[in-house]
Symmetry: D2
Subunit: 341 residues, 4 copies
């Protein structure tokens, strides 16, 4: 049965599989000291417009978030997230396991509002008892968010300005960054992100790789001993070249962006069909995740024909579900969807 459950259902983009196969018997040093990793770093620096960037390749999203946040926060600092942020909800307490609190501001369709953030921070530092509380040290946002929504350049700039006004670092979780960067109508580029954030990661696992996330410190601003802290968090890959080679491939001939664009096109076609067939949307998402509202009957009927993800029950008895596209979604999948809706 065809599945739209998520964007990590298949292996890796064929171009990655090809290069893994081609280079399989080459001998390279471990722990990211190999030429493929070096090449990937060089290409990512260029794509970000950051010749000084430090880039580290980790295996997965939760690992990346806890390693970055745990390594960058000091003392009793916490990280501010929208309530719906992945670190606040779906990482089984990985950030708290590093000893730091996730502080929350309201989520607006998954997004943080710069005004809420400013209000939180102003209130915090105005509180006479602030030094009995968790001191905000970092702002965490995801782009696209867990709800498929994206920030505009103006919104991102504002959040960055507010964070920096109060001396906090801005960290962007780009687990699905490729889909955000290639969303129709977005005015946010990779270079903008590199310019506005203090650290971010370019997601591979959900954008065509077998696994892997590229953490970028755009201005060479990684903390001292970042390599050792990655090891300390259990996040250092012995065969680092497997991650390096995948990112080298993703950043060759714009593969990362082509994957993103393909998934967006498939999502837009899917969206058009849902609209055409009269379905209601839970969220209007411009990225590869589409959130549809189904009645119980519709859900039952459809789930016999296609796989998708249950998202949440709605007060009126209906439910929201998610259909996701990826590099691997073919036009035939979309055509099939048209026949069954």
């Amino acid at each position: 049965m065809i599945s739209f459950v998520c964007d990590y259902l298949e292996g890796a983009h064929p171009e990655i599989m090809k290069r893994l196969a081609e280079t399989n018997l080459e001998q390279t040093p471990g722990y990211g000291q190999d030429k493929y990793t070096a090449s990937a770093i060089s290409k990512i620096r260029e794509a970000c417009g950051c010749p000084e960037a430090q880039v580290y390749f980790l295996a997965g999203g939760t690992q990346t978030n806890s390693t970055v946040i745990g390594s960058l926060l000091n003392g009793n600092e916490g990280v501010i997230s929208a309530t719906s942020g992945h670190i606040n909800v779906h990482e089984a307490g990985a950030v708290e396991y590093t000893g730091h609190k996730v502080l929350t501001v309201p989520a607006h369709l998954g997004k943080m509002d710069a005004t809420d953030l400013d209000s939180y921070l102003r209130g915090f530092f105005a509180d006479p008892a602030w030094d009995h509380m968790v001191i905000p040290g970092m702002v965490y946002i995801s782009h696209p968010t867990e709800y498929g929504t994206i920030y505009s350049l103006a919104e991102l700039s504002e959040i960055s300005a507010v964070a920096h006004k109060y001396g906090l670092q801005l960290y962007l979780d780009g687990a699905r960054l490729g889909y955000g960067l290639m969303a129709t109508g977005t005015d946010v580029s990779l270079k903008d992100i590199a310019r506005l954030c203090d650290v971010f990661y370019i997601g591979g696992t959900k954008v065509g790789a077998l696994f892997g996330e590229a953490v970028v410190f755009p201005r060479g601003n990684a903390p001292r001993h970042m390599f050792s802290m990655i090891k300390q968090h259990g996040a250092l890959l012995a065969k680092g070249r497997i991650a390096g080679l995948q990112f080298d491939t993703l950043f060759t001939d714009d593969l990362y962006f082509r994957i993103g664009r393909h998934a967006i096109e498939m999502a837009e076609k899917m969206k058009a069909i849902f609209i055409e067939k009269g379905y209601e949307f839970f969220i209007d998402s411009p990225t590869n995740q589409q959130f549809i509202i189904l009645t119980s009957e519709q859900r039952e009927m459809l789930s016999a024909l296609v796989d998708f993800e249950f998202w949440e029950a709605l007060p009126d008895g209906r439910c929201a579900v998610r259909f996701a596209t990826s590099w691997a979604t073919t036009p035939e999948f979309i055509d099939y969807l048209r026949t069954i809706l």
Copy 2:
């Protein structure tokens, strides 16, 4: 230049690459809920003679050690290791990061001695101030050890008996387990390990996989919520099937053991050449890591022709170096070695 630096220089065993390619476009659920992972678990249970075993696939060795140890220890318990144990030396403090102390007993060529362990534990519980100290909760050993040495069945049984006498769990780090199990003359089988240990892992990264370690709780004795704790440690793979498929392949037609045996045969040939050429050994290792003593001149001469790992400086000015074989070491590599020694 040919390299004998370590056993994780290449990609994956070709059989693994083949199956990754064949299944690449299949859609499977994430987080290890896929059929390949299920099949791998089933095969590992059989190989271990443990139909009740719980098996979890993680990405790398340090991650596995800190996840297992951090999840199994309670309160202020610590883990006892030989001083040379990987967790005590080369994991950048990953175990301590989980809040637990590594307690040490002397290492004998990398091995823990059951008598030392017994003496440590007897002394600990006899100390009137024991409850002001770190309470031993687990024994950690590696097999093969970091020095390529292996335990005999009698030694392993004794350590298991001592650990259990004092109520401690026994955890075996099998990063290179395949090479230990296939060492010439060993009397320790995988089933013995499953019988004598409370938890252990079967190493993939260093034995033919791109990455991956299989943690085994042989009697279904994983702690409650182990899955969530793996997520908490950042060790849950989204595309779990990539690890599952690799282990499914390794445990099909005895591939894991054939890889181990091949590396041992290559190591034995290598050893014979070193002996023949009059080299002295730092340690007499029966596994895939060989430790040779070189003079400065020899080291300089050889390092221009072949890659190997510097191990440690010796008091007499010479040094110990390591030559490792793996699934990827060919007879040609060994022949070449003969020509240059």
Copy 3:
């Protein structure tokens, strides 16, 4: 200037000072192995109606909360608190420092509602992705709350029933327990608390001691090695007898309850004056903390004559302030207040 800022402005109740002086030169063993600690434990067991209770004496509230919560939670479990809970707001992240998340439900004048708790837990375990989330392991409430409010026996029983229905432990923070137990009209006794909670503490610092909190496991249900975990958290007192003696005194001739009752009487007199003088209340508190609303002018005028605590700014430009009584509040303090209001 007379101060009503909080309930820890003075030293200790004179009866405590007297016994500290009397026993000062006696020699006793350290770490709580002394006769005064034994006597205090015995009296607390009796007051709680729990002959099996285990009792530990720690120095302060935040220390007690992080030691108890950090020692009792397992793996990736979190503790559920009302949003206004002390552990969620005013402990500088001490709970998160132990690796565990504080999960929140709405606060109703500082109190947790059993219905909210039930709804949270039902929702959690119904979520198909619950094992990617922080697993609730404990419920934390304070009595009286941070807003001076108290639970009724029915409310406390319901919370206990809900917590236990889902297998969670109930922990009650009694930093100001004496004032709650002696509130006019309360139907909650110390024995009720001991019966309904799995662990709680009887606050000393804010109820007449120099320092000290008595943690009670009412049914001998402390985790293994609790003593060592207290040491691990830096919470073991070398001269344990100083804490033991203070609690021995507090639980001799009902001193703890007399202190509580005195503060309540003072608070009720104070309340009557504020009502009489036409002041508005921010919260209707039955305990020793009274929350009054002041205009800017009133605040300015009063703060020149008496010390009280700023609590929070109100949207209409006025502010809420706190006046607290304690064992040390004299009728003269209250009389003075009448003259200046």
Copy 4:
């Protein structure tokens, strides 16, 4: 029965009790914002010759060690201690609970040797795999040590120089500092310690206070948000004035030094008696702890007449025991000892 078990058998020095009683009903702000704490800080600054010093008062030794070490170390840094260091042996893993490893160098009668330290650090940074290991960030010594021995000024200067040569901070645990500073023949003053260390604490619990340790950052070099980190570690005292007042008293009219000197004089008398009576010493200690060797018969006989601490069993069947003096040891105690030896 008279006890020489340790130096924390009694309450507090009478002068402290007197001032606690005198000030008992005064109202002061909490958390160390009171005038007694301010006065104590001022006097400690003067005694240290450090007008810029930051001083924090905590409750006990283990708490102080884990708060200071946990707050000052970054990332995967560890703290180097002699194997016999209190943090390595008798704190139930409190330092590891903060996520940091205790690294060890050999102990020489409880003391660290600058040469060993230098050798450790030189070896560490020369190791090509150093970034896979725990990075040394701090040196921990105790003065007097756990064996009652003390550093000479030359030794302390050397350790300080070595630590600083490699960029590490030097932390001195002064749980019994008063006894070290007043040891006959010592050439180390409090000002020397303040000059040579980056942080240290002046112990109160074992030197005349009910409880309390004064952490000193001699050059105003406390990390940002130290106050909040103390709170995070559960080490902030609500009635901070109780600790402040005790140190204010200890540093008035040299009481701290007079206490130290008194205990040393008592210890020297005790020592003379043991020598005179032909007892053998386990360690030649110049401070208030004396370590004597007893046969089983002697131990049995003496323990019926006086309390002392069993220290360790010796290979020849005899044992080492400890007799400690303090501010509270009277000449009568010593006279009694003479009669029974």
